[in-house]
Amino acid sequence: MTKDEESALIERVLAGDANAFEPLVLEHQTNVYRLALRLMGNEADAADAAQDAFVKAYTSLSSFRGDSRFSVWLYRLTNNVCIDALRRRRDTVPLETVDSEGEETELPLPDERWSPEILAERAEDIRAVRAAMAALPPDCREILALREIGALSYEELSSALGLELGTVRSRLSRARKRLADELMKSGNYTPAPHVKQQEGGARR
């Protein structure tokens, strides 16, 4: 869908043609759902959040001013819906320890803490990836998802998350480091049969 087609649909919705909203949903539902899935961590909550995000997009469409990409506006909204939902969930279900200051609690590890070979193999293991993602602090998960699923530029991340550009950079870097750490750790409880921790050194 081109930007012009998208704008035309938005105009039609604003003029009262609610059915013109459907192609916009179809166009963006995969990314909105995936973003919600990354943030919420399970399919059922992600589906609910994605639905709420679209309905909220419809009811507040008049506040979309066209000075950002529609997708960016939509992802930002999705992100907010998910954060609200997570907050509500946290009120009812105590989560496992969520530390938002990852850099302070990060363990000092030896320089060669990451093996690209092991990382590459673990990255193919959906269970390991899922576990590593779930172990990320929420701010890391959020910025990674917006960057990699939503394809927001640093500038867009900065305005969507209300962060300085420098903070966008440092947080993304921290998020990926943390992800690599978690992925390396994930071998401890989901060992792929042919990759054992002790053999890591020998493989290099």
């Binding site: 009262g16 995936r34 507040s60 008049s62 506040s63 959906i126 998802a145 993304l172 870097s173 990926r176």
Partner: protein, 255 residues
């Protein structure tokens, strides 16, 4: 280790295609002489894009469910002259405002309500049928029935559950009627709500009406009121904002 941080950030930015030429040149020079950072680059390549990998498609019923709710919203809006976009947040406010005004009906004459109520239709409809002072419960139900054109639960929720007014202090409502339009002496800086066409800004930041509602809902945070700046305002949007401010008992100052 620590002085590599800036290069680590640049490595990520490079993978994201967000590095300036100058920084990229510096980074390349550093990578040539720093095995640690080269290892970091390899690790980052291994996890790059992982957040977006292996994710399923949206469930097939998602768009159907969305459109059912959207069309329900649109259908409800079509029955209501105030229009679609402001409808959703407005209705719950209208119900709450109407309920609170009815609660307080004994103290004021009806014409004043009709003229100045934050929620003229819901309140007037509620009041027209209530010639005498009614019990609070009946009034709430009445207002909710009138306000909730569709039978969606949130309007009821707003009235029966999270009342916007302090239910133990229904007399907080009168200020909602008295305050708007008057203009208060401009003694200190107050936050600004701008209605620009159909768009809303809160101290210059664009937001939706429901976000504005959240922003303003901290009870008693705005004793000096807020400034309402009108820039070729869409009449519906303006009246929705005025209704919101009135319902939240926040004085309006015109610049």
């Amino acid at each position: 280790m620590t002085d590599h941080t800036v290069f680590e950030e640049r490595i990520c930015a490079m993978l994201d295609g967000e590095l300036s030429d100058g920084e990229a040149a510096e980074l390349r020079a550093h990578l040539d002489e720093c095995p640690e950072c080269r290892a970091f680059l390899d690790a980052m390549k291994a996890v790059y894009g992982l957040s977006a990998k292996e994710l399923p498609e949206a469930p097939p019923e998602l768009s159907k469910n969305v459109m059912e709710r959207v069309l329900a919203e649109a259908g409800a809006a079509a029955d209501h002259p105030r229009g679609r976009v402001i409808r959703f947040p407005f209705r719950s406010l209208a119900a709450a405002a109407a309920a609170a005004l009815v609660l307080w009906a004994g103290a004021r004459s009806l014409p004043a309500f009709r003229a100045k109520s934050a929620a003229p239709q819901a309140a007037a409809a509620g009041l027209a049928q209530e010639s005498a002072v009614v019990s609070a419960e009946e009034a709430e139900d009445e207002a909710a029935d009138e306000a909730a054109v569709s039978s969606e639960p949130e309007a009821y929720g707003a009235v029966n559950g999270g009342m916007l007014f302090d239910s133990e202090n229904p007399l907080s409502a009168p200020a909602a009627e008295a305050a708007p339009e008057e203009g208060l002496p401009a003694s200190r800086a107050v936050p600004t709500v701008t209605v620009h066409g159909t768009a809303l800004l809160w101290n210059g930041e664009p937001l939706t009406l429901s976000e504005l509602e959240d922003e303003l809902s901290g009870a008693g945070d705005y004793p000096d009121g807020v400034e309402l700046a009108l820039e070729e305002p869409d009449p519906e949007t303006e009246s929705a904002v005025r209704a919101l401010l009135g319902a939240l008992n926040i004085p309006v100052r015109e610049p």
